[in-house]
Symmetry: C3
Subunit: 148 residues, 3 copies
């Protein structure tokens, strides 16, 4: 366990103008709401932090991984992808890139990165840094929080 | 991408008396906590907003879809449904209807509705309107937020 | 439906120094972020409440259940567990026990416990009590909230 406390609770700076997302699930469908929520929040001038951990780290590596659709809905995946193309919905990483251009930050979980043998240089340009969970939890106080 | 910013962050009206839920997962089990959390929040006089997106939209159409149980727990589904009947637990849509009678609102995601070819008239009476993610994110500020 | 309102919304005591987690998913991978988030929050002196419901209750019984890995990533489970051992990451229940030693509380959902035929004495020592969802929702106001 490499986590250490980074800040006493009293130093938290509460804000209601922030969206903080733990991105854990690694199935392809879950990356769509990640893109949508970060893009929407950043476009409104809200702070936006994403903490990537678990299997979702595989969506952020330089060497691309083929992210699976959830087993229960795999049969609907082709129609869904076709519908997204027809509606001109940007891919999740384009939306997240737009969010980052407006100030959103993406952090890879230090513990799970180590467990999966990933270093900062193994991640693509979407990842800003590698941090511990405590840093994320402290920073998320007062804002909207989601676990995807 | 049809999302547009709807409000600058400075117009957010923070409240701690609100529960805002993104309902994304489309497996049958996840609809139970949706019903329970909305009913509990509304019964306590809290504001309650549900933003339905992704495969979960299939649970709100007029033409009913057979929602799958998660693959890992499909074998336990019959016992679970039997236990819910024996404990006289109301179905999720009954609980959500009770929450709506007390003021809860259900919004379908405009982007994913378009992707899946669904219009407001395709949804059952549980859905109040079709809105963008930015509207939901702005409205959720200051309250409890969950991604199911 | 055995839920009843426990408190009017006006009695909520908002705090930004709190993390409240609904633990619903029963796959083995999701217990890792439960341990990490609770341990991180408690170590920073934040209040921490976990509301266990759904299939996740199976992770807290005295009689142990073999929790499945998510179907999509089952093939990666052995490498992940090996990586966690190599990185000396504590098991999720050890992390949660550390969080509890620092003040975190774990509540089993009364409704789903009844549905699954589980009483307080059926749970291991990690579970503090059996409560209704309304109690959890009221208590979570003002803090960070996650649905795992």
């Amino acid at each position: 366990m490499t986590e250490t406390a980074v800040a006493p609770a009293m130093t938290l700076k509460p804000t209601t103008n922030k969206v903080s997302i733990v991105m854990f699930s690694g199935t392809a469908d879950k990356f769509i709401p990640l893109g949508v929520l970060t893009q929407a929040a950043a476009a409104m001038g809200m702070e936006c932090d994403v903490f990537v951990t678990g299997f979702a780290l595989l969506g952020f590596t330089k060497v691309p991984h083929d992210l699976p659709f959830p087993a229960e809905f795999a049969g609907m995946a082709p129609a869904l992808m076709q519908g997204m193309a027809a509606s001109h919905v940007a891919p999740w990483d384009t939306m997240l890139r737009q969010a980052k251009a407006m100030g959103a930050k993406v952090h890879a979980c230090s513990m799970m990165s180590e467990v999966m043998g990933l270093k900062l240089e193994d991640f693509g340009d979407l990842v800003d840094d590698v941090v511990g969970a405590a840093t994320f939890v402290a920073s998320a106080a007062g804002g909207e929080t989601f676990f995807i």
